[in-house]
């Protein structure tokens, strides 16, 4: 049989791409390779927001011939209680039912004409399935139709999907790259790829896959369709290739076990009667703006240590530059107070007496600098159960000193004693500073020691902190991070030996007595400002990720680099339309690592060749012996929802396609929705609990009605709230730069940012249209002029329609204009009508259209 059926798509499963990794090193992200949540930038969050689902494929699936060889063709095994009821399923869908009936009718007619029934070529195993053969044909045809629709939808999405990314990249991401100036597409893809790796996206995908595989394996040896379909619940993405379509697929082993997948319960899709127009797509990255940015971040902390600072003690040399009045350390969260030193820092006094003799006294002393922080935890949600697991609303004071257990684990009892004493002194000092601690302790039934934690290391290495951090929500993490920057107090403690040294030296006739006393608590008396200055470098780029449709033999030039001329496109044994997005998503170079291909896989169907449609999706292919079935969905959730919406008629639910899914599952889903939505009053009169809407919604678009001009506009920016910048109790304060004819307003972004509006949108388009001179024939557009009220930059796009139904994407012509007040486009193709689309930054005041009537018939 020519051509191997490539991996069928099972559905999407959502996963938490940004979940913190417990042990990054396991995933090959040792040391600084892993970017923990605390270090994520806004760009990272945007990038993570694009990685919401994994597409699951069956790997190595292929259509089976009845070769009789059990090694090649495992025998079909259906679970004995498999809920197979073809007609029941058929009745779920009246449209398909009609279709099937019609096919049966045709088949009967054909039987009369030919004298025999046209039997589809079926696998022998199918002989036992009691329903008409033609139904197979009907279903196969239906599936092919659906497949074509799917293809068209995907094409549409890809034609007009531009993923705007405003990225900041730390140059260290690109350490392994040789950057061009400006960076090329490939370089950006590699940079994105590397960043995704370092963020743990792929590792999390792998973990999720493992989880799914384990769940499947627990269910027994059968790969049950209803289990597969359960995957679709949360993503709400269904797939047109219904389960019966998969009959005959062989399922390769999972995790070392051979799962014999039932291959006879569905239609061997050998009768697809429709062809799909082959189309290749190329995802490419376009960097519209690239800058190297140096940011100087200056943070000031005001520190007010109470108490007083003992004399003769330069305690702050480690962290405080007395000359410049600034702290020396780099960043607050790597702040390390002074190293407690022993022995080397002995307190040495020399007394010179009148007769010239010298007495030296030496005592052991310890000194440490302690940070005191308030610490707030909770409330926290247990991610497994969804329950609140605890609230610790008490501030906890924490004394920390430098990391390292050398003295803590020291066998030197003297050092240990000194350390304990230093800590004790620090605690006592804390009680003095924070006089409410004993009161709190009494109030809450604790001892006052409860409020002081000792931790000998970085704050973030504190176990409890890590525990909460790993389980905190994004908001809470941010708060914890923010909070970690607070320096309420710093003070130092010096501890001397038990003895207070009093040395009396008598020499000759002169007696001099020096009593030396080292203060146990030494604190600075003044307040000071800690200035932290650091410079960060970023590569900032505004990127557009879009899909470019390729004709045969066509390559693409993007950002000065010619790429992706598919050399194998004429080799049918290999997917001829395989266009890999490997440069974006591939990661790892070793055989053990996965190669993630964002593949737009397009298989044209030829009924006579018995090749089968595969649909477009992104796919992860395993390299080496590791078998995972993952793709990283390049579409955003909105876009995938759009896919779903257009895939089927409205009001269809999964029950149409999978009646075996129990109601309890749907109830569980409802319960999740309810817990998210809360309760709001209802306005519609259905049997439901009110009308549900998100509490803190993110809106995708807004239509704007100018109630004075009575004209509509449109805003296509995700937003949480629209904000009127005028105070609600006052006149307008023109604090926002004014521009002619626009709104001075703002919106609250998805992540809580306040954005004001301007007239330089990242993406804007306006389509005038369906212009034709007469209805009988064609119009020959020869010239298009657009006038702008102010200097405009963008693209004028002319979209002809030949069929009169839809514009023809192949003949779109674009005319760029740059900082001009008018643009003239000359065009020479006839069409039934045209669209004129303006993109970019424009302020149109007039459009002229010059052409002839043409080809009237």
């Amino acid at each position: 049989m020519p051509g191997a059926f490539s991996s069928p798509f099972l559905g999407f499963v959502e996963f938490d791409a940004g979940a913190p990794l417990v042990d990054p090193a396991v995933h090959g992200l040792a040391g600084e390779m892993y970017i923990p949540p605390s270090l994520r930038t806004a760009s990272d969050l945007k990038l993570l927001a694009q990685c919401k689902s994994i597409g699951l494929f069956l790997q190595y699936a292929q259509w089976l011939e009845s070769s009789g060889d059990p090694d090649i063709e495992p025998s079909a095994v259906l679970p004995p209680d498999y809920p197979w009821d073809f007609m029941k399923w058929l009745n779920q869908d009246p449209i398909i039912r009609i279709f099937v009936d019609k096919e049966i009718e045709w088949a009967q007619l054909e039987t009369e004409l030919n004298g025999y029934e046209v039997k589809p070529r079926l696998h022998t195993g199918n002989e036992e399935i009691p329903h008409p053969r033609n139904a197979y044909f009907a279903y196969a045809t239906t599936q092919a139709i659906l497949a074509r629709q799917w293809h068209q939808k995907i094409s549409k999405i890809k034609d007009y999907t531009v993923l705007d990314l405003d990225m900041y990249f730390d140059p260290r991401d690109s350490a392994g790259f040789t950057w061009s100036n400006p960076p090329t597409q490939v370089e950006w893809m590699q940079a994105i790829n590397a960043r995704l790796t370092r963020l743990g996206v792929f590792a999390n995908a792998q973990l999720k896959l493992q989880e799914i595989q384990n769940a499947w394996l627990e269910e027994g040896q059968y790969l049950r369709y209803d289990l597969l379909y359960k995957l679709d619940f949360q993503a709400s993405v269904t797939f047109p290739e219904a389960f019966w379509h998969w009959g005959g697929l062989a399922f390769h082993d999972l995790s070392g076990r051979l799962i014999e997948e039932p291959r006879t319960c569905g239609c061997p899709a050998v009768f697809p009667s429709l062809m799909v127009t082959p189309t290749r797509y190329l995802p490419f990255v376009e960097a519209t703006n690239v800058n190297l940015i140096e940011t100087e971040i200056i943070t000031e902390y005001e520190i007010n240590p109470p108490g007083w600072f003992g004399p003769d003690f330069n305690a702050y040399g480690m962290i405080f530059d007395a000359t410049n009045g600034t702290f020396i350390q780099d960043v607050p969260n790597s702040f390390e107070p002074g190293t407690p030193t022993y022995g080397a820092n002995t307190d040495t006094r020399e007394l010179v007496t009148t007769d010239g003799s010298t007495t030296t006294t030496q005592n052991n002393a310890a000194y440490a600098v302690f940070q005191v922080r308030e610490w707030y935890l909770g409330p926290q949600i247990n991610p497994n159960t969804g329950n609140l697991v605890g609230v610790s609303s008490r501030p906890t004071l924490m004394l920390i000193d430098e990391e390292g257990n050398s003295y803590a684990s020291s066998s030197n009892p003297e050092r240990l004693r000194l350390r304990e004493r230093a800590e004790k002194i620090a605690v006592e000092q804390l009680y003095g500073m924070w006089g409410f601690i004993p009161a709190w302790a009494e109030m809450n039934g604790f001892t006052r020691d409860t409020y002081v934690n000792f931790h000998r290391g970085f704050y973030k290495n504190f176990d409890s902190w890590k525990y909460w951090y790993q389980r905190a929500s994004l908001d809470e993490k941010q708060r914890m991070i923010d909070f970690d920057y607070v320096f309420p107090y710093i003070f130092s403690v010096m501890v001397a030996d038990d003895t207070v040294n009093s040395t009396t030296t008598e020499t000759g006739s002169t007696t001099e007595t020096t009593t030396e006393s080292i203060q146990s608590i030494i604190l600075r008396d003044d307040r000071y400002i800690m200035t932290e200055t650091r410079t960060e470098q970023h590569v900032r780029a505004q990127l557009k990720l879009r899909w470019r449709k390729l004709a045969f033999n066509e390559g693409v030039v993007g950002n000065d680099v010619s790429i992706f001329v598919d050399e194998n496109f004429q080799e049918p044994a290999i997917n001829p339309y395989y266009v890999g997005f490997t440069s974006v998503i591939s990661y790892g170079t070793e055989a053990d690592n996965h190669q993630v291909h964002m593949v737009y896989r397009q298989l044209a169907v030829d009924p006579k060749s018995w090749g089968m449609t595969n649909l477009n999706a992104f796919e992860l292919e395993a390299a080496g012996d590791d078998f995972s079935y993952l793709s990283l969905q390049a579409l955003s959730l909105d876009q995938s929802r759009m896919l779903t919406k257009h895939l089927f008629a409205p009001n269809e639910t999964i029950l149409h396609y999978l009646p075996s899914v129990g109601k309890e599952s749907l109830d569980a889903q409802q319960s999740i929705i309810k817990s998210y939505l809360g309760q709001l009053p209802g306005s519609v009169w259905l049997n439901q609990y009110g009308s549900q809407a998100p509490l803190f919604p993110v809106f995708q678009e807004a239509l704007v009605l100018d109630t004075q001009l009575n004209k509509w506009g449109k805003m296509s920016v995700p937003h949480r709230l629209l904000v009127d910048l005028s105070p609600i109790n006052s006149h307008r304060q023109r604090k926002v730069a004014s521009s002619t004819f626009s709104i001075q307003a703002a919106m609250l972004g998805v992540e809580g940012e306040l954005f004001t509006f301007n007239d330089k949108p990242g993406y804007s388009e306006l389509r005038y249209g369906k212009l034709g001179y007469h209805r009988l024939g064609f119009t020959d557009l020869e010239e298009m002029r657009v006038w702008f009220a102010k200097q405009s930059t963008g693209i004028l796009q002319i979209e002809p329609s030949y069929s009169g139904d839809k514009p023809e994407s192949s003949f779109i012509q674009e005319f760029e204009f740059d900082d001009t007040t008018s643009v003239v486009a000359n065009y020479s193709l006839s069409a039934r009508w045209y669209n004129v689309t303006l993109k970019g930054n424009y302020d149109v005041k007039g459009i002229e259209f010059i052409g002839r009537k043409s080809a009237r018939r």
């Binding site: 678009e701 963008g794 192949s810």
Partner: protein, 601 residues
């Protein structure tokens, strides 16, 4: 044929409809078109644009305004101007009120309010330090079980915010809370609730232990301190006004005073006694009576001299949320507030609408004199979703009715309900927006997008409503910006992308179309440069037939498959001409009909 220049009228509005449903426009009526005539072409699709008087402009680029993002999820974000002309941003959020002052770069959590504190929801805080530090974070089995809130039902309830402006003060309320937050535009004296007691008394007495008060004539006043939560939930002492305890004296050394208050309304936490001995300087002594509903305490010690008397009442800075406690109402049931003329209004879960006293916005004790009232309007059908002020009146938006209550002080009842519609309602508070005047309101109702002006209900733009209603997520929120721009925010992209046709034609067709090739021969070379292709051969044929490339073949012919070779994946097609009647610019296709080989894999 002569050129025909046309002008597209950019002053016309974009039409917000599904671009797939937009019909082609025809400019010129020919005989065959007559007598139909349609309007000229208009904009019917796009993203991120705003109208201008003369046309359209790109808009909705974004500038990030502030360094710090709002740390909490906000339901409302408004700007409010203080008397000092400082504009502050007030965000009503899931965890209370966040305020950003003009002088600060950061948001400040100014008040803590998760709503429902009048209901009595509490969170278990049994997690002790021991538990926190004794388990192994990496081992799930050792996770502590304490502190689990078992009842998911309770925490599911969401309490929405409402706000209004009365007398230039900002009032915000979160449903089922016991307090209303007031953000005053100017500094105010902090007035805790007045001390209410049955009687007070001070008398010289002989205490069990000798007292240290000197003999003499005492002029004694006092004030009672109550512990109260501040806006963030921390305890602070708030004082009553000065209470006069009259003049009395101590006649013998070792005596003191006994101070008694009977039937205090609120148990005290502190008693500050101010006294003047023989006309000397004022002193203050603080006594701590047990927190019961009376005070009976001995005063035996001298106090500190105070520099000024009477003590300053605490000042609440402008722009600071302070809790206010309405009387009479069952706060657990209250759903929201609104401005009713110059009174404060509440509505509750039983659809009752309360209006405050005209003298005291927190006094809801019904009274004919103060006009405070609690009323259920029978014309309100469905649950009240929100209430908006309309000049001196207010409009009740319920799930199945809209009722306007008109202020009429001289009538028996202050508010006269007037049903605007009994067929339309709204589901969510944000489905209504106010225009330039309070009397100009827009609502996304169950029957359509409506403008309500002066009590008149008018459906506007039904076609837009129909489009929005047909989407998967039909929830639409309205917001009016600058009193002029009405935003209809949608969870979904409003329209799907415009669908283009998918036919793939050889790009070399485009070469010919612009006159890039001078001859058929040259065109053939270009088309066959990478080997013959189906589309290329078709185009070449078309060139031969029509004399101009890329014009006619797709209209004049169709393909008929002749054979297919499954081994090579090659199909062979023949071109079959469509019979045409003779019209101008049309040529009938002629032989030869070439057979072309096409790869289809």
């Amino acid at each position: 044929m002569a050129q025909r220049p046309k002008i597209i009228n950019t002053r016309q509005s974009y039409v917000p409809i599904d671009p797939e449903t937009f019909v082609p426009q025809s400019y010129t009526n020919e005989r065959s078109d007559a007598p139909d005539e349609v309007a000229g072409a208009v904009a019917y699709d796009g993203k991120n644009f705003m109208p201008t008087p003369y046309g359209y402009r790109s808009f909705f680029g974004l500038d990030e305004a502030w360094a710090e993002r709002l740390p909490s999820k906000a339901q409302e974000l408004v700007f409010f101007q203080l008397d000092t002309l400082e504009n502050i941003a007030i965000a009503l959020c899931e965890d209370g009120i966040w305020i950003k002052r003009a002088s600060l770069d950061t948001w400040v959590h100014a008040a803590k309010d998760t709503g429902g504190n009048a209901v009595g929801i509490s969170v278990d805080e049994n997690l002790t330090e021991d538990i926190l530090t004794s388990f192994d974070p990496e081992d799930l089995d050792t996770w502590p079980d304490v502190g689990v809130v078992e009842s998911a039902e309770e925490v599911d309830v969401y309490f929405p915010w409402t706000y209004c402006i009365i007398e230039n003060n900002f009032y915000a309320y979160r449903a089922s809370s016991k307090q209303v937050w007031k953000i005053a535009a100017k500094p105010e004296v902090d007035k805790p609730s007045q001390a209410v007691y049955a009687s007070r008394e001070i008398a010289e007495t002989i205490p069990p232990d000798p007292a240290n008060l000197p003999t003499g004539v005492y002029l004694v006043t006092c004030r009672i301190g109550y512990l109260a939560e501040d806006s963030l939930g921390a305890l602070e002492v708030r004082y009553t006004e000065i209470i006069d305890l009259a003049q009395t004296s101590i006649t013998a050394a070792g005596n003191g005073f006994r101070i008694q208050f009977a039937e205090l309304e609120t148990p005290p936490h502190e008693l500050e006694v101010y006294y003047q001995l023989d006309g000397g300087p004022w002193h203050k002594e603080v006594l701590y009576p047990p927190p019961v509903d009376f005070i009976d305490i001995l005063w035996t010690e001298e106090g500190e001299e105070v520099e000024e008397y009477p003590p300053k009442a605490s000042i609440i800075e402008a722009g600071t949320p302070t809790p206010q406690y309405p009387t009479f109402l069952n706060m657990a049931g209250q759903q929201g507030i609104f401005r009713a003329g110059f009174q404060l209004g509440f509505w509750d879960s039983a659809n009752a609408v309360a209006c405050s006293s005209v003298n005291d916005l927190m006094d809801f004790e019904p009274s004919v004199e103060t006009l405070a009232s609690v009323t259920t309007y029978s014309k309100v059908t469905g649950r009240i979703v929100t209430i908006l002020p309309e000049e001196n009146n207010f409009i009740i938006y319920a799930t199945r009715s809209i009722v306007r209550c008109v202020n009429n002080v001289s009538a028996t009842q202050q508010w006269e309900p007037d049903s605007i519609t009994h067929a339309a309602g709204i589901a969510y508070p944000k489905q209504v927006a106010v225009g330039t005047q309070e009397g100009d309101q827009y609502a996304y109702t169950s029957v359509g997008l409506a403008r309500i002006r002066g009590g008149e209900f008018e459906i506007i733009f039904p076609e837009v409503y129909d489009v929005l209603k047909a989407r998967e997520e039909e929830v639409v929120y309205l917001q009016m910006l600058e009193g002029r721009y009405l935003f209809l925010s949608s969870f979904d992209p409003v329209f799907s992308p415009l669908i283009f046709e998918q036919e793939i034609l050889d790009p070399s067709l485009l070469l010919g179309s612009g006159g890039g090739c001078e001859s058929v021969r040259q065109y053939a070379q270009v088309v066959r440069a990478k080997g013959p292709t189906f589309a290329g051969e078709m185009a070449l044929l078309d060139y031969v037939l029509s004399g101009k490339p890329g014009r006619y073949w797709f209209n004049t012919s169709y393909l008929n498959e002749v054979s297919f070779d499954p081994d090579t994946g090659i199909s062979t097609y023949e071109l079959v001409p469509i019979e045409e009647t003779g019209e101008e610019d049309t040529k009938t296709a002629v032989l030869p009909y070439p057979r072309v080989q096409v790869y289809l894999a």
